[in-house]
Symmetry: C2
Subunit: 357 residues, 2 copies
């Protein structure tokens, strides 16, 4: 274990730890004493028909989902729904390289796949809460990968699915981009093959990683339209140092690498021998595929190809110049569009059932 | 000086060295004994009215311009035009960090700006060849930066201008991307602040730099449409190792950094106190602005904003999924489009003069 005060309920709000037990991993190996960190909002109704699952994205935790997406009057309204935000393995809340004890700590933390997260989440949902159907699974980026995995792996359980700014099968281009993020961290001599004592020793690599996020995470129009200044940053250096680096620097490098490895390999066609069309044909959920118009990771063209393979699905493009990081919620118009689409989706009766109480 | 057999006429074809003398630099300092490497094709006519200038891009030399753009029946036809391909300072042919003697060698090589290149080229064109008007200045990427600089600095000399896949004033987004390229190289411990003995010592950094080019240089659709396989590469790793890394690895890191610094700061509004509209209003050349539709460095949106500020100009978008690296000529349809646009441009009478003999 390495110490890191960032991953605390002081920084990320209250969460419960659910004990999954020993999680046998798809890539081989076992994550012993696996714990999922879950933050819940609202109340599960007697029929258990108002449950929404929200998996988290790379570097994100339940806190940003709460701050940006959940609230009274919003689509994800805790007055109507029981919302479980599950922090993905490696996120820093719940089992992660930085908090796993010897001998599976840090660089020895096993390789985890999206499917492992979803099986652990399935155990949480069914065994802890006794929920058999989810009114909605919704997530952005790696949260979209988990959403797709849910809809393909447990098609009868997912009534509605909303993958935002992400794909069911990661693309070669995105795999390569993520590899450059990994390289930025691992090439830092302070990384020491993952055996650094404190994240600060990897400060330079984390800053390079943050800078690459600044290039690919937003969009050319974000910069051209002066969004950087609108968000309160007076220069590129100010933006990189105080926004992007300020965001990533407190995080644990091995945690980020755990998530990056998983992100690169997200692929629901693992269920069907590599046949993506067959995998997506399994989906029973009413699905809204929601790319961001200017996303440089998961452009609408890549998402639309997948959407066409999902029965009864709709492509709902979120119009924003904030690129992939429109997920951060800094473009309120985009967040408004997202809310309207999610309300539409939740308003659709599925299998004779409405989503709310 | 450091040895590097890559920068030879064996690899890059014959070129002449023109002695500029001592070039006082815009950033301060002097490049002593500055030499420009120029490869020419065709014959200057008696009226000296058929001269075309082609400045080079980041990492490119006169060889790729010859191979991809110049030929009988092409727009740049040596049977009709006298074509001067001038290798930019830092390209490795002509004055560059790797071949400049002590004490201005390697990390001590002075900072050069686009304007310095263009002033040196002006001396070559006027003093060596006695040319007073250029029928066309055309270049891609950093070649576009030099093209804009020519058209703004010497408006009466440039009859036609064709900046391809580049901007007159570099954007914040592109500055930041280029900085990540710089970081990839300078973060390699083998770089040793620029005092490595041989480029091989910076092998890891050059590979990271090549991988980042693979991400941003092409486009998401390039990968989605299987262009990588169509070009003969069987996997991402094969592509990165044998195409991108194979291309960049023989180059000198200090040379690349010299060009990157210049690229980041390309800006014709330096002539007009930062007023880009005023700078572009100086242009007298008939100008075709030619972005590539899928370019992630210089997207059509950024180029179109500048084009609107140039009197009588036209926006001619090159349609290709090859992104910025459509410049490499691997998409023959795109190269065909470019040729047609350049023929259109050369066919337009300017100031009562036609471009050909």
């Amino acid at each position: 274990m390495s110490s890191n005060t960032y991953y605390s309920s002081e920084a990320h709000g209250p969460f419960d730890l659910y004990d999954v037990g020993n999680l046998a991993l798809e890539e081989g190996g076992t994550l012993r004493g696996c714990q999922l960190a879950v933050a819940t909002f609202g109340t599960l109704n007697a029929a258990k028909s108002n449950a929404i699952l929200v998996p988290t994205w790379y570097s994100g935790t339940s806190k940003i989902m709460e701050n940006v997406y959940i609230g009274k009057g919003r689509a994800l309204d805790p007055d109507k729904y029981f919302i479980m935000v599950v922090n993905q393995i490696g996120s820093g809340l719940g089992s992660s390289p930085h908090n796993t004890p010897f001998p599976s700590d840090r660089a020895n933390f096993p390789k985890v796949r999206i499917g492992d997260d979803v099986r652990a989440q399935h155990q949480l949902v069914t065994q802890k809460y006794g929920i058999e159907r989810l009114a909605l699974v919704v997530g952005g980026s790696m949260g979209a990968q988990q959403t797709y995995e849910w809809a393909v792996r447990y098609p009868e359980m997912v009534e509605r699915a909303a993958p935002i700014a992400g794909t069911a099968k990661n693309t070669a281009h995105d795999f390569l981009f993520t590899e450059t993020l990994v390289d930025a961290i691992t090439s830092d001599p302070g990384f020491a093959n993952g055996w650094y004592e404190h994240a600060d020793e990897v400060r330079a690599g984390l800053r390079r990683h943050a800078k690459m996020w600044a290039v690919m995470g937003w969009s050319t129009e974000f910069f051209a339209q002066g969004r950087m200044a609108a968000l309160g940053f007076s220069s590129l250096d100010d933006f990189v140092t105080n926004f992007m680096n300020g965001y990533f620097a407190p995080m644990d490098p091995n945690n980020l690498l755990c998530m990056a490895w998983k992100w690169q390999r997200g692929d629901v066609s693992r269920h069907t021998g590599g046949d993506l069309a067959a995998a997506l044909a399994r989906i029973q959920a009413k699905t809204f595929v929601m790319p961001v118009s200017s996303d440089m990771f998961f452009p609408p063209s890549d998402c639309a190809r997948e959407q066409k393979l999902i029965k009864g699905s709709e492509l709902r493009v979120l119009d924003s110049v904030d690129g992939h990081l429109a997920l951060f919620g800094a473009d309120p118009d985009c967040t408004g569009q997202l809310d309207r689409h999610l309300k539409d989706l939740l308003g659709i009766a599925v299998g004779g059932r409405h989503s709310s109480m």
